[in-house]
Amino acid sequence: MDSESKKEVLQSQPRILEINDDFSLIKRFIEGDESTFKTLVHRHKEKVRNIIYLTVSRTEFVDDIAQEVFITLYKNLKHFRFESQFTTWLYRITVNKCKDHLRKMRIRSVFVPVKETEGYNHINDNIDVSEIVHKSINKLPEKLRTPLLLKDIEGFSYQEIADTIQCEVGTVKSRIFRAREGLRNLLKPYEEDLRD
């Protein structure tokens, strides 16, 4: 197909072929059409919110952090260099914001009295399996938890995870393995309950 006929196709079906992928939206944004930002937000907000939820594992902070992520995105979108996937860039911002948040929380927790130990005993009949697992996952250190959840919940590839948390693929590999081993150890006391 030569360039002439390409043009024809474009003219005959302009709407269908209107290019709405992330890159084009960002380009239009940079050119001054700020309305495209709305589309970007709408498209990615749920993914971003879920990543935040997985990383900080507390629902009450999700929306505030997500707002921060998109505000940062809005301010920096003009500097986007189209070298990598937009989502990788966006998720990197998200994970960094989450890390900031966790750091603040850690500092704050120094001044807050230590909560009582959260233990599950076997006497309790109504044990929710997914709750046990969820709590156990939350006990994992953040650097192990995030890759594991990005893989198992969000279905990221190792490469995507490495891009998002900015490390080598090998590191991601070993962290996910260590996360699973750790989780296995944490779940050992509940083996009986989990068997059904």
Binding site: K38, V41, H42, K45, E46, R49, N50, Y53, L54, T59, V62, D63, A66, Q67, F70, I71, Y74, P113, V114, E116, T117, V129, S130, E131, V133, H134, I137, K139, L140, P141, L144, L148, L149, K151, D152, I153, S157, Y158, K173, S174, I176, F177, R178, A179, R180, E181, G182, L183, R184, N185, L186, L187, L194
Partner: protein, 530 residues
């Protein structure tokens, strides 16, 4: 083996190269442990997948985000700095205002002050009206500087000057113990005829009226005292002395100082005191002390009171059956409350007043307040006379028990007792024959001498910081170290003991709290080692 186990995880995730997959599957086929391990990891992966649900969508997320983004960024900066800018602008404005109008603040303060003064000056009424002063009260005021504040005589105001010459007055719940009947004795000594008596009555009556306007109170707990009160006291003494000198030679014999009193001077003094139109009052209010002028319209008040009296008489007749209620009809009662102590902290006040307060007495030293001097050439000499006469008067009324001398029958003891009074120019002595049936007479002289020594040694100038009653108690009991039979002392010791116990209890509470604090501390959990 370990290397293979680590590969299992990536194998599960489909992240191994085809070559690695081939190798691992081969290994798995003959290593049951590895197969078990794979099953374990698979289970963990499944559990992980199933355990976390996606969070629900946030409906207003975009609305919130875009409303924030639409706020202009520089607006944020202003918002952030607005408190600082506000303060800065205010400071500059105030500086400019004060530069071009330096009296601004002072004017505001002055205005507030006069507003406050006006508030407290409202509705002032003479305090002494309620006391219904009798001739005897005025007589006692003249010679003992003490006026009752109500007709039940439970509160007194005392004016005077301490040895250093500072004027003071105090309001106390217990007056000096004045022997009753001094006035009667005085009158008996004068032996006046009917005309003279009437004349004397009118003199005293005029003072009773005049004294009314010297102390004013209102329902806002304000007490206004005219500094002229001190002059009145002197004038009354002078007037009484002049009258005594004129009416009875006998009294003049007894009080040689009377010869010095010149009635013409006294007349002038009395006149100028009575016509002193200096309307300054010292105002005592619950939160401040100040001096201000205040016009008290005595005539207006008289009219008001006459109307009120008539109405009250009517109601009294109705109430006569109910005596109790009538007794409760104390018009005004000044409460000595601790709030007055706060006055000490007012710096301006401290310059002019010293206030000593305890549960019985409120004494105010007004060393820096000008008591308006009566401008008469002979005032100094007259004052000296007044002082001397007052002294002599007190000597006369020194209490020696009255005994019926006529009842001197046989078999009963007689005691002779001499009492001497030293005066500037003569020594007068009095002889008493004491007769007390079947009672061992104590050596009155030695008791008196002891008491007098105590009084002389007592440091009257020391500030009455602690309870004056306690002071007196210690003073009279200073030579007794046991106190065993004294209930007051016992109470005091009990109080001390109770205080100690309270302190001890507090200590224990503190200790308990500290112990509890320690037990609350829980060692932080160690992070999970993986």
């Amino acid at each position: 083996m370990n290397k293979h186990i680590e590969l299992l995880s990536s194998y599960l995730d489909g992240e191994l190269s085809p070559e690695e997959v081939k190798q691992l599957e081969e290994k798995l086929s003959y290593t049951p442990e590895l197969r078990d391990k794979l099953a374990e990891l698979k289970r963990v992966k499944e559990l992980t997948k199933s355990s976390i649900k996606k969070i629900p969508e946030a409906p207003y997320f975009e609305t919130r985000l875009f409303s924030y983004l639409q706020e202009k960024p520089y607006r944020n900066k202003i918002k952030k700095w607005s408190p600082v800018i506000g303060v800065a602008v205010l400071t500059v404005a105030l500086m400019l205002l004060l530069k071009f109008n330096p009296d601004f603040l002072e004017n505001i303060f002055e205005e507030q002050k006069s507003n406050l003064a006006g508030f407290y000056k409202e509705n002032l009424k003479p305090f002494l009206f309620a006391a219904d002063l009798s001739n005897e009260d005025i007589f006692n005021f003249a010679f003992y500087n003490q006026l009752p504040l109500d007709n039940t005589k439970t509160q007194y105001i005392q004016v005077g000057s301490d040895p250093s010459g500072d004027e003071y007055f105090e309001i106390s719940t217990a007056g000096l113990m004045i022997e009753e009947g001094n006035f009667k004795k005085f009158m008996e000594t004068l032996a006046l005829n009917a005309d003279q008596e009437q004349q004397f009555d009118s003199i005293m009556g005029s003072y009773a009226e005049a004294l009314q306007s010297q102390i004013l109170v209102n329902d806002k707990n304000t007490v206004a005292i005219s500094p002229n009160l001190w002059n009145y006291q002197k004038a009354i003494v002078a007037d009484i002395l002049a009258f005594a000198k004129a009416s009875s030679e006998e009294v003049a014999d007894m009080m040689p100082v009377l010869f010095k009193v010149q009635s013409s001077v006294v007349k002038q003094v009395v006149h100028s005191v009575k016509t002193n139109k200096d309307n300054e009052y010292i105002f005592f209010t619950p939160d401040s002390l100040f001096i201000d002028t205040f016009e008290f319209d005595a005539d207006e008040f008289k009219k008001e009171m006459e109307i009120a009296k008539r109405e009250m008489q009517k109601s009294f007749q109705e109430m006569e059956r109910n005596q109790e209620e009538m007794e409760e009809l104390n018009l005004v009662r000044l409460k000595l409350d601790s709030s007055l102590i706060n006055l000490k902290r007012v710096p301006r006040v401290n310059k002019n007043f010293d206030i000593y307060i305890d549960s019985n007495v409120c004494r105010v030293h007004i060393d820096k307040i000008e008591i308006p001097d009566i401008e008469l050439p002979d005032m100094d000499s007259l004052e000296a006379i007044i002082n001397e006469a007052t002294k002599q008067f007190k000597s006369f009324t020194f209490t020696v028990p009255k005994f019926d001398l006529s009842d001197g029958k046989a078999g009963k003891k007689f005691h002779k007792y001499d009492y001497k009074i030293e005066m500037d120019d003569s020594i007068k002595s009095f002889k008493f024959d004491l007769h007390i049936p079947d009672v061992e007479i104590p050596d009155v002289d030695s008791i008196l001498r002891n008491e007098m020594e105590h009084l002389e040694n007592f440091n009257w100038n020391q500030p009455l910081m602690n309870d004056s009653l306690m002071e007196w108690f210690n003073f009279f009991r200073s030579d007794d170290s046991t106190y065993s039979d004294n209930p007051m002392h016992f109470e005091f010791r009990m109080k001390e003991f109770e205080e100690e116990m309270e302190k001890f209890r507090e200590e224990m509470e503190k200790l308990k709290r500290e112990l509890r604090k320690d037990s609350v501390y829980v060692k932080p959990k160690k992070p999970v080692e993986i």
